[in-house]
């Protein structure tokens, strides 16, 4: 190891001397054609050149004295520096082609989706009012924050339910509703319009920065599905406040999610799930399979 270090130092010295020598050459003489300075310059150069030669010999000697290491040196992270970089060996090209294809596909799909969504009258927020006839100057998505706070505090909720409102994205509110020890729901508002609902179990985390992850339990994933269809059902552009109130009332009926048997078949379990559907008007519990039969 010492030998190797010596050699490396010698190489370093050689390099710096060569560099100095070239620098010296580049600087040239003082410019005036004085014989003396010119001689001095040549002399200096010869000195340096001699030094380089002797050092070169020294390096060669040292290199000859080196032994092939018995095992590979452990170089830590620096080993990664010398990895194969030849393009042919990296198999980059197929990957490149693949990702290009994917980007192309994504582009196509998003273009189609964009066109489709533009025609879709189910869009509830921005485009809704720009129908031919301008409605009253209400907007269900542009209310001031105080109004939402007031609205949510007005909802007379049963004692088992708690609301926790916060605003992660500026003025739009998110309400975390905890219904007894049964479930948690995050209601994402846009103005007073409900944009999204996530349902999770009581023992699951519903973090402020992760409102979109699905529940790990099948039953709450199913309830979330139903909650979304109910959200569309209760949507009412003319009476947005009432829509929110009736929706929350409907949601609160899940307090007996595990407690009540299905109204139709009188059983608790069907396909491993309790009655997950609550009738929109009567709030009665049904299994998903039983509700239309």
């Amino acid at each position: 190891m010492d030998k190797l270090n010596l050699t490396l130092t010698a190489v370093k010295n050689l390099r710096s001397n060569v560099r100095q020598c070239f620098e010296h050459l580049a600087d040239g003489t003082d410019g005036e054609g004085v014989e003396e300075s010119r001689n001095k310059f040549v002399h200096d150069f010869q000195d340096r050149f001699g030094a380089i030669n002797s050092q070169l010999r020294e390096v060669e000697q040292l290199i000859n004295g080196l032994q092939v290491p018995p095992t590979a040196y452990h170089l830590g992270n620096t080993t990664f520096l010398a990895q194969e970089t030849s393009q042919d060996r990296q198999a980059l090209y197929p990957q490149l082609v693949n990702s290009y294809k994917w980007i192309d596909k994504v582009h196509d799909h998003s273009f189609l989706a964009f066109n489709n969504l533009n025609q879709n009258t189910l869009r509830r927020s921005y485009n809704y009012c720009s129908q031919k006839r301008q409605r009253l100057p209400f907007s269900s998505f542009n209310n001031d924050p105080d109004h939402i706070d007031k609205l949510l505090s007005e909802i007379n909720h049963p004692p088992h339910t708690s609301y926790n409102v916060f605003r992660p994205f500026g003025s739009n509110a998110v309400a975390i509703v905890t219904i007894s020890n049964v479930l948690k729901a995050a209601i994402v508002f846009k103005g007073v319009l409900i944009e999204w609902v996530t349902i999770k179990g009581y023992d699951e985390t519903l973090e402020h920065d992760d409102l979109w992850a699905e529940s790990r339990y099948e039953v709450f994933r199913k309830v979330q599905e139903h909650a979304h269809s109910a959200m569309l059902h209760f949507f009412s552009p003319t009476l947005p406040d009432l829509a929110v109130k009736s929706y929350v009332t409907w949601l609160n009926s899940h307090i007996k999610l595990f407690l009540e048997p299905c109204k139709r078949c009188n059983k608790y379990i069907a396909n491993g799930l309790p009655p997950t559907w609550r009738d929109l008007r009567t709030l009665e519990p049904f299994h998903e399979e039983c509700r239309n039969s």
């Binding site: 009581y202 595990f258 608790y268 396909n271 491993g272 799930l273």
Partner: protein
């Protein structure tokens, strides 16, 4: 993690445990459940070496494969007080440091192992209980994972149990939940109904201990460990007393 209920399955005369387990497993599969691995719950009891002036203390150390990194232990100080502890699995090594004070009763090492099934959000475990390699009985564990309060989902669990076991399960909450005592502010034992409490993994472990203790006692009553094909007529008795009673004997 959700509410878990243990249900001993009465072994009919002339049937072997393996046969019943096989039968129940097939029933679950035809119901639509999927087979999802194996499980193991084991229990070892350490008894304090008698010193005069102090009652014999028993430390029950249990493991549950559902919580593979934890060791559950329950100490019974001999006067009815119990303290429960959940610790890292390394706690087992610490217990071994105390062998001069607490000795393991190897002959009462008991475990329940078997297949694990999932049906919707239910987890059902068909356990055969063995003590010293001797078959003791069948213990069914059923867990409803989304719910953490027994009173909310007991009827569901009951319907499920009756459905695939084909036996009648009493409408009342299981005895474990109704007979728990807690220490009140005055330091007295007080009856406390647990069915409305938030369920914890420790509750599962305590139920196992309760049943294991029953199986152990059964052996003592019948005087010996010899009877391997032990058959139990009717439902297994579930005394309402706290666990750990009778540990001092044998």
């Amino acid at each position: 993690m959700g509410v878990t209920v243990l249900q001993p399955y009465p072994l009919p005369e002339g049937k072997s445990g393996a046969h019943i387990i096989d039968h129940l497993g097939k029933r679950l599969l035809s119901l639509g459940a999927t087979h999802a691995g194996q499980f193991l719950v084991d229990c070892e009891t350490f008894i304090s070496t008698p010193q005069h002036g102090t009652p014999t203390r028993a430390v029950h150390v249990l493991h549950d494969s559902e919580f593979p990194a934890s060791t559950f232990s329950i100490i019974d100080n001999g006067t009815g007080k119990q303290v429960a502890l959940v610790a890292d699995a390394i706690f087992d090594l610490l217990m071994l440091k105390m062998t001069s004070t607490f000795t393991s009763k190897k002959q009462t090492k008991i475990e329940s192992r078997g297949a694990r099934f999932e049906y919707g959000d239910f987890v059902i475990k068909l356990g055969s209980v063995t003590m010293m390699e001797h078959f003791k009985g069948i213990l069914i564990e059923i867990e409803y994972r989304p719910c953490i309060t027994l009173s909310y989902c007991w009827e569901m669990i009951r319907e499920m149990l009756q459905g695939f076991l084909g036996i009648n399960v009493a409408k009342e909450y299981p005895t474990y939940f109704t007979t728990q005592t807690i220490m009140n502010a005055m330091g007295q034992q007080q009856l406390h109904a647990k069915q409305n409490d938030l369920y914890e993994p420790m509750d599962t472990v305590k139920q196992y201990l309760e049943h294991f203790t029953n199986y152990r006692k059964h052996v003592q009553l019948h005087g010996g460990l010899g009877s391997s094909g032990l058959s139990v007529n009717g439902p297994v008795l579930m005394p309402s007393t706290v666990v750990g009673v009778g540990m001092g004997r044998s």
